[in-house]
């Protein structure tokens, strides 16, 4: 997200989901769309039926890749050199959009210079991608009338995640595929309200609406509204806290998260949580994290409360109470307000609509979001500045949020960890269709759990043969950080030397293994790549 904010001025999906289906060329990179964002995949399928073309860039031969006109199956961690090579080919073929570059962007020369001096190592990094395929992809994207790029955590969960995103933005601007309807750059959000949680300032450096805590004027405004002096220094990120060993922070309040399954290098997380002087958890299920808490609050589920979620396309929409909270559960709002009052701060809201009124007051992009408006519509897409504003279907219409789009060239960076003799495999992690995040909810369901009852490790038939491995056999999967037991699934979806599995299963907690090396700007850990070894369990 930091990436798009730098280049475009706003870090969100520029399009609406519906627009993706209207593009002539769709480039999907680092997204297993059919499984993780089925509704986006649906738009891609219908676009294909109407004659649109699809380019998939993914180390795995996913279901979507099988339907693509071109599938570039590159090595994980080589997105930047691949995209740089693509851009160079576009430049060479004169398929870039001169007019757009001149009028709507800045810093193009720096990108051009870099592309012309493209390091041979960059070319070598993508040596396994057939040049003809690369050329075909460059032509397809370069010649497209309307092209969109969709990406997901396959791009951001790298040590160079921010640079990855900026390189994607470079490609879109180079060809003038932003600022117009049905063109753009679309980060698909992993969780239902990631967008909203970011928008609402659940981040260490910003207030709601991405207003920096370090900005004095902003702070003065919030301070005025809330009647307290507010801290100016940006706070700690999630990994600073959960990997801090109980020293960075001594007490934690965790609402609806399960870092003890979702965060990388779980041993460190466990060590931290066990060393905290105080840990309070609010959740709907007794999670691994809650097991270690001093206090656990039973929270109401989405079916038991009213409020709003913001989806990937920036659409703020209602979630409505269908039943009363079960047992003695309370909504997280009630819990926070009750705690605030006990700490001597009057926090009283008659409804979530009243909270939204305060949000609208303090958050310019949410300035026109009121529950009554959201009630009588299918929600509103931010920015929506005031009550009469209709919301925004696609971003940067005729104008980037930051003025001109800024090219930020980036060079290839080696992943935090590479396969070696001891750990010869490259392990990638991601989602499966039937489960969501740490599985607390989906695994409680009969059909979902039946359809996908356990974690499976995808391994190429070639590797399976050399290990005399059959599908269904149990393996010890190890990295420098730990070992888990997991069942093998022989699959041509992964290339030789690659392994893939999901992170939903508490029985096979993959994040015991993952690398916490993270992107210096976005602080996003490199979940997608680590070096691993395998051993058959007899």
């Amino acid at each position: 997200m930091a990436g798009l904010a730098t280049t475009f001025g706003s870090g969100a999906m520029t399009n609406s989901i519906e627009e993706i289906g209207r593009a002539d060329v769709i480039l999907v990179i680092g997204s297993n769309t059919t499984e993780a964002h089925p509704q986006v995949a649906r738009r891609i399928f219908s676009a294909l039926d109407r004659g649109s073309r699809l380019i998939v860039i993914d180390p795995r031969r996913t279901a979507l890749a099988r339907r693509a006109d071109i599938h570039l199956q590159h090595r994980p961690g080589t997105d930047i050199p691949l995209l740089n090579c693509l851009m160079r080919l576009i430049l060479d073929d004169n398929l870039h959009d001169d007019v757009f570059i001149e009028h709507r962007t800045e810093n193009f020369n720096e990108l051009r210079d870099m592309l012309y001096r493209l390091d041979p190592t960059e070319k070598a990094a993508v040596a396994n991608v057939p040049p003809a395929q690369l050329k075909k992809a460059a032509e397809l994207y370069g010649r497209a009338n309307k092209a969109v790029i969709c990406y997901c955590l396959g791009i951001t969960q790298h040590i160079c995640g921010t640079d990855n995103v900026q390189t994607i933005a470079n490609l879109a601007m180079l060809t003038g595929n932003v600022e117009k309807e049905d063109t753009g750059v679309d980060p698909l959000r992993g969780q239902n309200n990631v967008q909203g949680a970011c928008d609402m300032g659940a981040l260490p450096g910003v207030f709601p609406g991405y207003q920096a805590v370090s900005n004095e004027a902003v702070r003065a405004e919030f301070s005025g509204a809330w009647g307290r002096d507010l801290p100016a220094e940006p706070g700690l990120t999630i990994l600073d806290m959960t990997h801090g060993g109980g020293k960075t922070v001594k007490g934690m309040f965790i609402m609806g998260e399960n870092p003890l399954l979702s965060d990388p290098t779980l041993e460190k997380v466990r060590n931290t949580l066990e060393n905290l002087e105080f840990l309070a958890v609010s959740d709907i299920f007794p999670t691994e994290t809650a097991e270690l808490a001093h206090v656990v609050f039973p929270a109401a589920s989405f079916a038991e409360k009213t409020g709003t979620f913001t989806n990937s396309e920036r659409r703020v929409q209602m979630v409505r109470r269908a039943i009363e909270p079960i047992g003695e559960c309370r909504t997280d709002s009630d819990i926070i307000c009750a705690l605030a009052r006990r700490l001597g701060y009057e926090m009283n809201y008659e409804s979530s609509a009243e909270i939204m009124e305060e949000i609208a007051l303090l958050t310019p992009v949410y300035g026109g979001m009121y529950h009554d408006r959201l009630e009588s519509s299918w929600g509103l897409q931010w920015p929506c500045f005031n009550r009469s504003h209709p919301g925004t279907v696609f971003l940067h219409k005729y104008n980037f949020a930051r003025g001109r789009g800024c090219f930020v060239p980036a060079a290839h960076q080696m992943p935090g960890e590479q396969p070696d003799e001891e750990y010869p495999f490259l392990l990638m992690t991601g989602r499966v269709y039937h489960h969501y995040h740490t599985g607390a909810m989906t695994r409680a369901g009969n059909i979902l759990n039946r359809e996908s009852p356990e974690a499976l490790l995808e391994i190429n038939p070639v590797d399976a043969e050399s290990l005399t491995l059959a599908s269904g056999e149990m393996l010890n999967l190890a990295t420098r950080r730990g070992t888990i037991k997991i069942r093998a699934l022989i699959s041509e979806q992964v290339a030789p030397g690659m392994l893939y599995t999901s992170f939903h299963f508490t029985e096979a907690p993959i994040n015991l293994l993952t690398n916490a090396a993270s992107d210096p700007k976005a602080k996003c850990p490199e979940y997608k790549i680590c070096a691993a070894q395998l051993e058959k369990i007899n």
């Binding site: 089925p38 399928f45 219908s46 299918w378 009969n446 059909i447």
Partner: protein, 349 residues
């Protein structure tokens, strides 16, 4: 049977009467613009919608997505207590396809003994259908023998004649209803009957899609092994199960125990879909139906071949709902077109 006429002004007053002593279920357009079958608690506030196709059929009312079969106790002793719940309900405004689907479910749920839960609800139900003067976007009930108007099977069938409804009864419960509330109705005259006939004729010419169901059924009877079709459709399928869930005649289910505590729980019947891989997976992991292609084959052959053999008609009622919803375009209309496009092996030579 001779028809009757109900002035449209009298519809709500009539529904108010027949609702007494039970529930009324009818299509309602909610404030979000979706049309659903809902229980009508307030005839003055809930807006009947006789213009749009309801997004789901009546299936969930007779065969809910989660249906408790029994509660069980396993504290000291192990025992089951059956759960049966049904109350008299009038269903108004269902379309011919949905009514045909209910009649089909009647057949399915009476195989090897009448299904207690289903028929408890079914026996309490009065079905008042509304013929379709104007079929919806993906409708093809004229090709599946399930509409736009029906000859039989309804308790009452309404035909929209502009400012009035032409009303026919087919079953005794419909006749009783007409008799009980006779003062709302006037006898139809020759002119009304002509108008009704005209509406039926016009409706038949109003279909926007032509779907050649019979040739496809014949083709499948002759040769059900259509590998290219199964392959393409299984590639497109995104495994949501939506086609089976939305289909008014899909009745596959699973039975599971839902523990409520150590000592007791509920035994539930839940919707299931033959396209799911877990549908056929056995304990221990062996799956005799291993490929997505096989699952897709199963689904379409069941609808257009096996049910023709077993029950004399395909179990597709032409409602078109699967066309609207499928992520990958794995729907009945596409399937039938693909089947009819395939050349018979004999023709290829």
């Amino acid at each position: 049977m001779k028809g009757l006429i109900l002035k449209k002004d009298n519809l709500v007053p009539l529904l108010r009467k027949i609702r007494k002593g039970g529930k009324l279920v009818a299509p309602v357009q909610n404030r979000h613009g979706d049309t659903l079958f809902e229980v009508i608690d307030d005839l003055d506030r809930q807006q009947l919608d006789l213009e749009h196709q309801a997004q789901s059929s009546l299936k969930p009312f007779f065969f809910p997505q989660n249906d408790p079969l029994a509660t069980y106790n396993c504290a000291e002793d192990y025992s089951f207590e059956p759960v049966v719940s049904a109350e008299p309900t009038v269903y108004f405004g269902l379309r011919s396809c949905d009514l045909t689907a209910v009649l089909y479910m009647d057949v399915i749920f009476s195989q090897n003994g009448a299904d207690t839960l289903y028929f408890a609800r079914r026996k309490e139900a009065i079905l008042i259908s509304l013929g379709c003067n104007q079929p919806f976007a993906h409708c093809f009930c004229n090709n599946t023998g399930s509409g736009p108007f029906l000859e039989y099977g309804f308790d009452l069938q309404f035909t929209d004649l502009g400012d009035s409804f032409y009303v026919e009864a087919d079953r005794a419960r419909g006749e009783e209803l007409l008799e009980r509330w006779s003062y709302f109705f006037t006898p139809a005259d020759e002119d009304d009957r002509k108008k009704q006939y005209q509406a039926v004729l016009e409706a038949r010419s109003n279909f926007r899609r032509t779907v050649h169901v019979d040739p496809a059924v014949k083709r499948l009877a002759a040769d059900p092994d259509l590998q290219p079709v199964w392959r393409e459709l299984s590639d497109r399928c995104q495994d949501c199960g939506g086609c089976a869930y939305i289909c008014p005649t899909c009745t596959c289910f699973t039975i599971v125990d839902q523990p409520l505590a150590e000592t007791h729980g509920i035994r539930l019947r839940q919707w299931d879909s033959c396209t799911f891989s877990g549908f056929t997976r056995m304990a221990g992991g062996h799956n005799p139906v291993n490929h997505a292609e096989q699952a897709i084959r199963r689904r379409f052959l069941h609808k257009l071949k096996i049910d023709v053999e077993k029950h004399g008609r395909p179990s597709c009622v032409g409602c078109g709902r699967c066309v609207d919803i499928c992520f990958g375009g794995v729907d009945m209309i596409r399937f039938i077109a693909m089947v009819n496009d395939l050349k018979l092996p004999a023709e290829e030579k």
